[in-house]
């Protein structure tokens, strides 16, 4: 990681009157990686993204976007940032193509370059067929895809996506994931905020959890060293429970089903458990991680807060 790439935020604070929307956020998002920004409603995600996008001045703290300070070098920072807002407004009377050529012009791309870029992006987000329809006939998901295309017009180094998956159908979600992974592979820094944690599981490399305006945890999704819960089901749940107890493996019964939840560290531990169960003559019908990594981490943090 180059010292001036990606997103770095340290001690960022911002309040609106008496409301401390962002109280103390530290965040690092590295180039070539997808970083998830996770937090409950009202935890300050959108406010943080506005500050990263250079629209809002932080009350305190330091922010660097691809090396530029969005406060002191706002223009440079803006030129390197692509921002897709959560509340999606669009120029209703313009066609999808015109929206993109207008944004291209606003980024000082010449007319021919803008037209070429618009066609390319419409192809990328599968809106070519609707390119010459007015934007107000697009569905919410289609508008969302247009918004993503709009954030990509000037080929930014840093992408800030605020709830990009909301309103998307399953096909578009898969497309979004593939696209985001591809952009990360090109070396872009991508920060995604979302509530759909299982979605982020497959998309993100790192995760930053914020709650009540503070960074509460930073995790790596691919990190296999952390213990996580696995879900086991057997043909005879009683026998399975008995064996686990006999074996000395800490376990608990799933609250809403027949499965048993076991905390394991890494895939090897899971394989070992399965082997010993079979050797002991227990009929295991399934073994799999219970929920996503991020979901578990999120719920664990929620637990801690109570």
């Amino acid at each position: 990681m180059t010292p001036d790439g990606g997103i770095r935020a340290q001690g960022v604070r911002r309040s609106f009157g008496p409301v401390h929307a962002v109280a103390d956020v530290d965040l690092v998002a590295a180039p070539g990686r997808v970083t998830a920004l996770i937090g409950p409603n009202g935890s300050g995600k959108t406010t943080l993204l506005l500050m990263l996008a250079g629209l809002l001045t932080p009350d305190a703290g330091v922010i660097r976007i691809a090396g530029a300070d969005p406060v002191a070098q706002n223009y440079v920072a803006r030129s390197r940032t692509g921002w897709m807002p959560d509340v999606f407004g669009t120029w209703d009377s313009l066609t999808a193509r015109e929206v993109l050529t207008t944004v291209a012009a606003a980024y000082r791309i010449d007319a021919a370059g803008g037209r070429a870029r618009a066609s390319e992006l419409l192809e990328l987000v599968h809106l070519s067929e609707l390119a010459d329809q007015p934007a107000h006939v697009l569905s919410r998901g289609q508008k969302q895809r247009l918004g993503l295309a709009r954030a990509l017009v000037h080929d930014p180094d840093v992408l800030l996506l605020d709830e990009p998956a909301s309103g998307l159908d399953p096909r578009s979600r898969v497309d979004l994931r593939v696209l985001v992974r591809r952009l990360a592979a090109e070396g872009k820094t991508i920060l995604v905020s979302s509530h759909v944690l299982t979605e982020l599981d497959e998309m993100a490399d790192d995760a930053v959890f914020i709650s009540r305006g503070r960074t509460v945890a930073t995790r790596s999704v691919a990190d296999g060293d952390r213990p996580r819960e696995w879900r086991l089901t057997g043909l005879d749940p009683e026998a399975l429970a008995a064996w686990l107890a006999e074996n000395g493996t800490p376990h608990r019964k799933e609250a809403d089903g027949p499965g048993m939840l076991v905390e394991l560290t890494g895939d090897a531990a899971a394989a070992a458990l399965l082997r010993s169960a079979i050797e002991a003559g227990i009929d295991v019908s399934s073994i799999a991680p219970a929920g996503g990594v991020l979901e578990q981490a999120y719920l664990a943090l929620e637990e801690e807060r109570r």
């Binding site: 500050m51 223009y75 030129s79 807002p85 669009t90 009377s93």
Partner: protein
């Protein structure tokens, strides 16, 4: 985590973009981008086209009615007198009146409306400067307002064809109307950046126009007692001791009396910002009030009125000639010659300052990153 400030300072600028463009930097490209976007948005909404058609019909109807009414009058009584002055005044006054009603609606929602729709921030994050966004929006609303003005020009020309109005008046009238509408658009834009709700900014714009159009002239009227002073003036009066029972007309003589003199030349500037005064005063001056009254050219009479106010009639006064027959014509009191000093540059200058103020406020409000938000608004 530490942030290396030195590395940051030497970071190369991306894609050859200039290291920084200030809030006031302007480019033709940026202006055109915003103006075209705004006009596309506006022109494609059928409401606007309908408004333009209604405007054309209404102004046409007023012109027709005025022409009909005054040609009948002219035909009946004066026979062959030109009716152009009256019709021209009515049409110009009506176009300006309607323009003052329509122009605020074109611009007073341009910024807060976009903010509420979530489209303002998407422009702010691009490489457009705040000045380009504001002036582009101003250009678009002004062009829209000018479309209304252009739709009225046929009727102005028609009234001009009625005779009695110097053709150069058309040029000055249209130019002043255009500038006044531009000022109104700029004021609306300023309020639109200042206030969160579009209805609020529209009301404030109307109040501002109301203030310069109606409130200032009322203040001018209310100040009459203050600007009136008791002075010793010479008057050309009826001879003392005349009884009114004689068959002979009275002779006139100079007298010196204590008289209340109204110094309107001290407060004339309160009338100047009024858009009607600006439009009326910019036309070539025709100094003969009797001729104007006969023509019914209200625009020219308004011009004469403000010029008269600026001149200030402080004596000597002629109180006698009115009672005289033939012999009154040799009055030694010169009739008041109204000043040829222009009133409109002061008024227009003041109005332009208001408009410039609106633009400055809007640009300052659109600077990113913002430290403060107007109450009850979101950035995005």
């Amino acid at each position: 985590m530490s942030v290396d400030v030195e590395v940051v300072e030497t970071a190369p600028s991306a894609g050859g973009a200039p290291a920084g463009r200030g809030a006031w930097s302007l480019s033709w490209h940026g202006l055109r981008t915003v103006a075209v976007l705004e006009l596309r948005q506006r022109v494609r909404s059928t409401r606007w086209k309908a408004a333009l058609i209604v405007w054309f019909l209404v102004v046409g109807l007023v012109t027709l009615l005025a022409t009909g009414a005054f040609s009948i009058l002219a035909g009946d009584e004066m026979g062959g007198e030109s009716f152009g002055g009256t019709v021209y005044s009515i049409v110009v006054g009506f176009v300006l009146f309607l323009g003052l009603l329509v122009a605020p609606t074109l611009s007073s929602g341009a910024i807060n409306g976009d903010r509420n729709a979530g489209t303002l921030a998407t422009l702010q994050v691009t490489l457009l400067s705040p000045a380009e966004i504001v002036l582009g929006k101003l250009a678009a609303s002004w062009i829209a307002a000018l479309a209304f003005l252009v739709a009225s020009i046929p009727f102005l020309v028609w009234a001009l064809a009625g005779g009695g109005v110097y053709w150069l008046s058309l040029l000055t009238t249209v130019l002043m109307l255009a500038l006044v509408l531009g000022v109104v658009c700029a004021i609306g834009l300023g309020f639109s950046a200042l206030v969160g709700k579009t209805s609020g900014s529209a009301v404030l714009t109307y109040l501002t126009i109301g203030a310069i159009t109606a409130v200032l002239p009322i203040v001018f009227g209310l100040l009459v007692p203050v600007t009136t002073t008791t002075e010793t003036v010479r008057v050309w009066d009826i001879e003392s001791g005349y009884t009114w029972e004689e068959t002979k007309a009275p002779d006139c003589e100079w007298r010196t009396v204590e008289y209340e003199v109204w110094h309107s030349e001290r407060t004339w500037w309160l009338l100047a910002p009024n858009p009607f005064v600006v439009v009326a005063d910019a036309q070539p001056l025709n100094g003969d009030p009797d001729q104007l009254a006969e023509d019914g050219n209200m625009l020219a009479m308004l011009q004469y009125g403000v010029r008269y106010a600026r001149t200030g009639d402080t004596g000597p006064f002629d109180w006698c000639s009115g009672y005289m027959g033939e012999s009154g014509t040799d009055s030694p009191v010169e009739p008041v010659e109204v000043t040829d000093q222009l009133v409109w540059p002061w008024g227009l200058g003041f109005d332009l300052l208001l408009g410039a103020g609106g633009v400055v406020i809007a640009v300052n409000r659109l600077k990113v990153p913002t430290a403060q938000l107007p109450k009850g608004t979101r950035v995005a």
